[in-house]
């Protein structure tokens, strides 16, 4: 099988799927041209990500990666969420095919983008370096 059981589980039954009307931060990454867009919503209270939701346009591994990423940051502090790496997502999914690794990169970036939006909206200062618009390893965008 192309995908692990974990990937298929998260693809079939995505966790935290949907929109959030009263989100504190929204991040959207990816690009329709190359076939993948992730939109992530976070609800933050006292520096803790209380709730998270996502919508994804993309392949099986894009949907599974976003689902897994939301699960990994839900209930965590923002600092912890910012530590989430695409590697951790891939590991949690029991691996991804090589040409699908970029989907996990998008998931990592979606989390960062949502946090950045939250910081921007609330006038919280942050280290711009950390949020350097990560160029996609695959398409360079």
């Amino acid at each position: 099988m192309l995908y692990s059981e974990k990937v298929m589980d998260h693809f079939r039954n995505p966790r935290n799927l949907g929109k959030m009307d009263d989100a504190d931060g929204i991040g959207e990454v990816g690009n329709a041209k190359c076939g993948d867009i992730m939109k992530m919503y976070i609800k933050v209270k006292d520096g803790i990500i209380e709730d998270v939701k996502f919508n994804t346009f993309g392949c099986g591994s894009a949907i599974a990666s976003s689902s897994m990423a939301t699960e990994m940051i839900k209930g965590k502090s923002i600092d912890d969420a910012l530590e989430l790496s695409n590697k951790a997502v891939v590991e949690a999914l029991d691996g991804l095919p090589t040409h699908k690794i970029h989907c996990s990169v998008l998931a990592e970036e979606a989390v960062k983008a949502a946090v950045k939006d939250y910081y921007d909206k609330n006038g919280i200062a942050y280290d711009k370096e950390k949020f350097a618009p990560g160029s996609c390893p695959t398409c360079g965008e």
């Binding site: 298929m8 079939r12 041209k33 867009i37 939109k39 392949c59 970029h102």
Partner: protein, 395 residues
């Protein structure tokens, strides 16, 4: 319900072909180059299969070269015509933007070797205009290679007109007929085709075997050097069981073609009708000038791979021009060539039918697809923008 609707990807071998092949593996194992009885028996069986294949194509038996499949046949035909052209100073090759990669990548390589390649556009209907072919021909054109039927959107190209132009202008004409042979009538002599490629596994025959037809008088160069098999033009011990299996499948396909075409086209048209009710969807490729079994749709706002995986869960096996399925991230070059924007090209679904499919299966597909499309649109950020009017619908 289990539905195999990826017959353009590959087909299930017919029992007739499996039997012919298994019988051959057990009884006709000889090397046809060997002088002894076992070898000569193999040589006879090979000759019979060659004649059968020739008959099915309207060719002479000594115009048939067995290859390991469609890709090899395409490579050999194009490289051969290019090399013989170059000897006469002709280094211009003409093809279309919607060819299979076996053709496109071979042309790309020849381009790097100093040939000039013109890739013709096709219309929004996925069909090349013979007038464009005629206009593209130059003094130094060595070859025109245009596929008989497209593997993604199923469009049938105006092969008769193109071949006639080539004949008049004295340019060698090759057609990749991998998707056509066994499905629609083909007669190489009547249609003035100089070279034609086909592949066994696309019409319920075995994999790893194909044919390059080369009209008598058209020179052929070896892609694989070695023994004197295939009249010295393709080395390697002949794959008799596969050749026999392919010949059996082709004979069967041709014998049942008229009947199958009507039956399959009816299912195709019903499927197109049913999927067309999904809003912001579109059929890719001309509705009528297409293979009897090909249905190819785009659904705006969704991505092809997820659609395929969810269909598979429902027992429906299909394919997509979507990049994600092939290990590359570029969407189908065919869908781009017919003018679809990237984001729409990512949301394609190809259902390719054969005579084994049933009207009940078609109704089941029509029932299941809309729900899956809706679900994927619901979770798609693009669809949200489209619906909110933040982005314009393309289809």
């Amino acid at each position: 319900m289990y539905i195999y609707a990826d017959n353009a990807g590959t087909t299930k071998m017919s029992p007739v072909a499996i039997d012919a092949m298994t019988k051959c593996m057990n009884e006709v194992f000889g090397n046809p180059s060997s002088l002894h009885s076992t070898g000569q028996r193999a040589a006879e069986v090979l000759q019979k299969a060659r004649e059968d294949v020739a008959e099915a194509l309207g060719a002479d038996f000594n115009e048939i070269y067995f290859t390991s499949g469609g890709s090899e046949a395409d490579n050999q035909a194009i490289r051969s015509a290019a090399l013989f052209g170059a000897k006469k100073g002709k280094k211009h090759l003409i093809s279309t933007k919607i060819e299979h990669h076996a053709v496109l990548h071979t042309l790309k390589k020849l381009e790097r070797e100093g040939f000039e390649v013109t890739l013709l556009d096709v219309g929004a209907d996925g069909i090349v205009d013979p007038a464009d072919v005629e206009k593209a021909i130059r003094e130094d054109t060595a070859l025109i290679t245009i596929m008989y039927a497209n593997n993604e959107i199923g469009t049938l190209q105006p092969i008769d007109e193109i071949a006639k132009i080539c004949k008049e202008k004295k340019v060698t004409f090759h057609t990749d007929a991998v998707q056509a042979v066994g499905h629609v009538p083909v007669n190489v002599h009547a249609q003035n085709i100089d070279m034609l490629s086909l592949s066994g596994h696309k019409f319920h025959g075995p994999k790893g075997i194909g044919v390059l037809y080369v009209r008598k008088g058209v020179p052929l160069f070896n892609l694989i050097e070695g023994g004197a098999q295939e009249r010295g033009r393709r080395a390697g011990t002949e794959n008799i069981p596969a050749i026999v299996g392919m010949a059996a499948a082709l004979k069967e396909a041709v014998a049942n073609m008229d009947e199958n075409m009507v039956k399959i086209a009816a299912m195709r048209d019903r499927l197109i009708e049913g999927l067309s009710t999904i809003e912001h969807s579109r059929l890719n490729g001309d509705a009528k000038k297409r293979l009897p079994g090909n249905v190819n749709f785009c659904f705006e706002g969704i991505e092809g791979e997820s659609l395929l995986l969810l269909l598979d869960e429902k027992g429906i096996e299909a394919s997509s021009g979507s990049a994600c399925t092939s290990g590359s991230l570029d969407p189908s070059h065919v869908l781009l060539a017919i003018g679809l924007p990237h984001e729409v090209a990512h949301g394609s679904l190809r259902l390719t039918l054969c005579e084994e499919n049933t009207p009940e299966q078609i109704e089941y597909i029509i029932k299941e697809v809309p729900g899956i499309v809706s679900y994927l649109r619901d979770i798609s950020p693009i669809w949200e923008e489209l619906e909110k009017g933040e982005k314009k619908h393309v289809i």
